[in-house]
């Protein structure tokens, strides 16, 4: 009898209904594990509620220093803001080109093992490293300036775009590639006529999204020496010119908001266009 009822339950419902005991034990286990994790983490980070309460009071006080923003600094900050945008704008196409190479080299259905393994490893390595570390290394070698900033951002794009591209290529229906191969296409022709058209819309959409990410990152990198609005911001902070810093924050907000809007609109166009073709 129970056997029959199990057969009668649709499989997707059966898997959702564990037996009574399990239904109680599992959430309890998860909650317990979470509690232990939180307690350990709080201990590691020396979290203290007293300090939080104190910090909140001081934080409000500190925030007071930032107001009103120094509107007169706005005109001085527009130049650095443009530099931040240009850094991202130059770095993104470079990063896209690099990711294209890495993505093609890392796809299982295109690249031989001797090429694929190191390419995947480099992509993984890059993904694991925050851009800031790459920039610190480049600054240590090449000095401060826009050059290391652009290179750091371009390299920083490889991890995300390269991986997404390689994964997208691997998901291409094998029959599409085979049909081009059977008529005698070379590997390059397969890439040009079967792979690129399949992955182009999503790759472009990702690249546009990466531009948005790069704008944020270029603000961040600016603070450690790539120049631009991030540099102005951290300079104002260390000179204790908080009202000027607030202005820099507002300019940054406007930049990032604008970039998000533009990138959203462009992405939608690219993806819709891809569907129509």
């Amino acid at each position: 009898m129970p056997r029959i009822s199990r057969v009668m339950t649709p499989p997707h419902l059966a898997s959702r209904r564990p037996s009574g005991l399990r239904r109680l034990v599992r959430p309890a286990l998860i909650a317990g594990a979470l509690a232990v994790l939180v307690a350990w983490s709080a201990d590691q980070c020396k979290v203290s509620l007293a300090e939080l309460a104190q910090g909140a009071v001081r934080g409000v006080e500190v925030l007071g220093f930032f107001f009103p923003p120094d509107w007169s600094a706005m005109s001085e900050l527009l130049g650095p803001a443009l530099i931040t945008v240009l850094l991202a704008a130059v770095a993104t196409p470079l990063g896209v080109a690099l990711s294209l190479l890495f993505g093609l080299a890392a796809a299982r259905n295109l690249a031989p093992a001797w090429l694929r393994t190191p390419a995947r490893m480099l992509i993984g390595l890059e993904r694991a490293l925050p851009e800031i570390i790459i920039l610190l290394l480049l600054v240590a070698a090449l000095g401060v300036g826009p050059f290391p900033g652009v290179i750091a951002l371009a390299i920083g794009s490889i991890g995300m775009l390269g991986k997404l591209l390689a994964d997208a290529i691997e998901e291409i229906d094998a029959r599409v590639l085979e049909s081009v191969e059977t008529v005698g296409a070379t590997r390059w022709q397969v890439i040009r006529h079967a792979v690129i058209p399949e992955v182009l819309p999503s790759f472009l959409a990702n690249a546009i999204f990466r531009f948005e990410v790069n704008i944020r990152a270029s603000v961040l990198l600016g603070a450690v020496g790539a120049g631009g609005i991030g540099f102005e911001l951290s300079k104002a902070m260390s000179l204790l010119e908080y009202e000027r810093a607030m202005m820099a924050v507002l300019v940054t907000l406007a930049l990032v908001f604008g970039a998000e809007r533009i990138s959203d609109a462009l992405r939608r166009r690219v993806l819709d266009g891809g569907k129509l073709q």
């Binding site: 979290v47 610190l136 961040l220 908001f257």
Partner: protein
């Protein structure tokens, strides 16, 4: 045989001028190239530096090799830095997710008390997402001082914008049928949330939580560089005193840590969501 057929048909095609699509694409490429040239000039971005200054990169690589792996056993404080970094990411993610979920209920069209509240909270999420994490950290460093606690708070605040938007979108996309069903039997607003909405969004909350943990782990390292404690701070210290062999060892440690934690969070996510639904 089929190859030959294709070849003949291709050669017998009459000449066609470049299609509009092709010309448009070439136009886009040309515009992009022109823009790159102008922007590069405006930035004083000099690509040839990569060749002329290449020996500096080689020299740095030389100074970094071999990595001082001994650090792993000669410097036990490294392990507390690793623990600190992981703990920062864990706390930042959990605290950020909890706060964001509460706010998301106000930001989702179907649970918000008033459309105006929805717009307001959503605007707050947007503003937070637009604020770089390190700006938040800079303010917090003044408020609570250097160290991992400031890092945790920065990550918490930094997670709210992203989580809040994702959660609110997930809540807005729930199937309204269960909500109506338990509304008709007289459920309170809280009961609707608990029994009709939460079960539907839980998988996406969990999946996003694990994703955010991966993001926050990297952010925890990056914030450390600005004074947030943990591995990033160690790395920045080693860099300041030009101990590049230590730097490389730390970088390797970071790569191993991030990769490992990604595997762990992937595994756990699959364990937890596997029984709920294939997301």
């Amino acid at each position: 045989m089929s190859t030959a057929a294709v070849a003949t048909s291709a050669s017998s095609l009459p000449y066609t001028p470049p299609s509009r699509l092709f010309r448009r694409r070439m136009g886009i490429f040309a515009a992009l190239a022109l823009f790159l040239a102008v922007a590069g000039a405006a930035l004083k971005f000099e690509p040839w530096l990569l060749i002329t200054d290449f020996h500096y990169l080689v020299r740095l690589a030389g100074e970094m090799l071999p990595p001082r792996i001994e650090l792993l056993w000669t410097k036990p404080s490294l392990y507390s830095s690793v623990a600190e970094t992981i703990a920062m990411a864990v706390l930042g993610t959990l605290a950020g997710a909890s706060i964001a979920f509460g706010l998301a209920l106000f930001a989702a069209g179907n649970t918000t008390p008033h459309p105006f509240v929805r717009t307001f909270v959503r605007f707050g999420f947007g503003a937070e997402r637009a604020t770089p994490n390190f700006v938040v950290l800079l303010v917090l460093l003044i408020a609570v001082g250097f160290g991992p606690f400031a890092g945790v708070l920065a990550l918490t605040i930094g997670s709210i914008g992203m989580f809040g938007k994702l959660f609110a979108d997930a809540i807005e996309q729930v199937d309204p049928a269960p909500i109506e069903a338990i509304n008709t039997v007289g459920a309170t607003r809280w009961q609707v949330i608990r029994y009709a909405i939460l079960p539907q969004v839980l998988p996406s909350v969990v999946a996003n939580g694990f994703y955010a943990f991966d993001v926050n782990l990297r952010a925890a390292i990056a914030l450390g560089v600005y004074g947030g404690g943990g591995l990033g701070f160690e790395l920045q210290l080693a860099m300041k005193v030009l101990r590049y062999q230590d730097v490389l060892a730390l970088i390797l440690l970071i790569v191993v840590l991030v990769t490992l934690m990604e595997r762990v969070s992937d595994f756990l996510r699959r364990r937890i969501l596997g029984s709920t639904a294939a997301l």
